[in-house]
Symmetry: C2
Subunit: 313 residues, 2 copies
DNA sequence: ATGTCGTTTGCTCATATGAGCATTGGGTAT
DNA sequence: ATACCCAATGCTCATATGAGCAAACGACAT
């Protein structure tokens, strides 16, 4: 960094910099007005930057960490990466911010011709609550219900389809069944099977991420999974779930209980052009990293602390 | 101001803006790297500014208020205007900051071929104390001594000439004599008269400003001015002194006691190519305004609160 | 479908700008 | 004085950029 120029020169630089940067005059105009040569004006403007008189700051007006977003995008080859700065430690605040940001992203990229796929999860509920308008696109539920009743995917589907003004394709069933037989039965239901047929039409999907290690997921707490199931899956290295797709630290997908799940399959996930995950917080970091490694995602909405952990490790 | 774009677009804009503003890539380079057209890149950069994602801040790294400096310069037709931001209310801090800034300005504009003229005053003492180097220019005292001994122009002259490495032209005499006769006598002294002969060679002068209303000046407190003198001059509208030049609100120069003063005359002041005043604080505002109105000054160093008062009224 | 409107995109061409070089000028050592 | 050096200045010419326009597109109503 160049050393500070004298005060008189600082004033001159400030004057020229104001004319140029704040009033969009060209160097040539400024040169004519001040009697300097355009070269001198150009050199003073260079000095304005190098001496720190002109500071150029790039940051979102709405609390986004654009620098981290860009890094995340580059590092993990994502199409969409959005990092929000959440000052509070409160989990509720985090969910709300992530949800509303994901909602903004969704309103931005969705068009009339898209078909939107959704899973359930607290963050997605927050997203549904914050959305206020959407194009008239199709809305498809991608997985059964895993959590307590008030946070079900059904509530999310209800709200989002209402906003879009269309009838949603829903799945009235739990995410995991206790045995494969029961799952087959559910999949045979007309409503469910019609929804399953929509999966291939989905163009944009938004999903929550569940963590298995530490356990922060509706799925792993589900009664249909007994202790032995859980232990076997954990032994296989499962650390994250996305819909009902189970993933290890290396990004490998574990298919052991696919036949008991009522949800979009890995293959179908991969056929969707734009898959976006929304998740944040310390307990989810490992799971997010795993799902990024799997290559399932094209987009991620997370918080700045988590983004830093993802980039740092 | 345009409304905030969606988060995905914000990230894209941030990326492009970073490349352009922080890494100095051309729009064309960015276009090639991102696959966008150069026009699109240009439009996104426009949006970066209009949406507030890129903020361009013009301010001095060293606590100067460049915006006010520029305004002052324009409003009063000055060549040099320097406004420092002084957070403290302490008069000592104010003097120190003004002095050191004036010193910086002086080091900046003085060359070997200049001849520097100085008056006395607290602020100029502070300037002398803060100066650390000067070119080998001539140094001339422009007025007799008005204040208490430790703040005399003599101390200032001693220090500044030592820094410049030259012999100064000094005036060992009070600023005001009690009668014209005495003044004639002083002016006849060889030392004094030699110094007076230098006045016409002075190219850069720095002077303090004294306020007569409210009374904040060494001159008005001088014992050589009795109550009746003071009252007469105040009745004539004197509000400020610069050296021994007395000035009214309208900028008119009052010559009533010129014959009793040992100092550079108005005419000689006006012959100096660069005359700079250093003064600040609420009590000096009116005086500064008066001297600006007189057209004696080419430069002013002051504090931000005073600058705002000067510009505001 | 068809036409219309408003928006987005890329084009042309005149203009602004940067890189690198030659010139100047002032200070310094011989 | 003379030669030398370094910094500051302004030049030429190739390149980057902006203004304004025209084509393409998409949403919507008819």
């Amino acid at each position: 960094m160049a050393q500070t120029p004298g005060p008189g020169r600082q004033v001159q630089i400030a004057h020229i910099a104001t004319q140029h940067y704040l009033q969009n005059k060209t160097r040539i105009e400024i040169a004519n007005e001040t009697g300097l040569s355009r070269f001198k004006v150009g050199r003073l403007l260079d000095e304005a930057v190098s001496s720190g008189i002109v500071r150029i700051d790039i940051q979102s007006p709405s609390g986004m960490r654009l620098d981290l977003s860009v890094q995340l995008k580059d590092r993990f080859g994502l199409m969409h990466a959005v990092v929000v700065d959440v000052p509070s430690d409160s989990d509720d605040v985090l969910q709300a911010r992530l949800g509303s940001t994901a909602g903004d992203l969704l309103s931005e990229i969705l068009t009339d011709n898209d078909v939107l796929g959704l899973t359930s999860g607290r963050t997605l509920s927050a997203m549904a609550r914050s959305l206020s308008s959407l194009p008239k696109c199709g809305v498809v539920q991608l997985a059964g219900v895993a959590g307590p009743i008030q946070e079900t995917g059904l509530e999310i589907m209800r709200r989002i389809s209402a906003i879009a003004g269309v009838r949603p394709w829903t799945i009235y069933s739990p995410l995991v069944m206790s045995d494969a037989q029961a799952a087959v039965g559910v999949r045979r239901q007309p409503d469910t099977s019609q929804t399953f047929e929509q999966f291939s039409r989905v163009t944009v999907a938004v999903g929550a991420i569940g963590s298995w290690q530490p356990e922060n997921s509706q799925m792993i707490k589900n009664r249909a999974l007994d202790t032995s199931d859980r232990e076997k899956l954990l032994a296989r290295g499962v650390v994250a779930e996305f819909g009902a797709t189970l993933i290890t630290d290396t990004g490998e997908v574990i298919h052991d209980i696919d036949d008991r799940c009522i949800a979009i399959s890995e293959k179908q996930w991969r056929a969707i052009p734009t898959v976006i995950a929304v998740a944040g917080g310390p307990t989810k970091t490992r799971a997010i990293r795993a799902i990024l490694a799997s290559g399932l995602l094209h987009g991620l909405v997370t918080d700045s602390a988590t983004a830093e952990r993802l980039l740092g490790g």
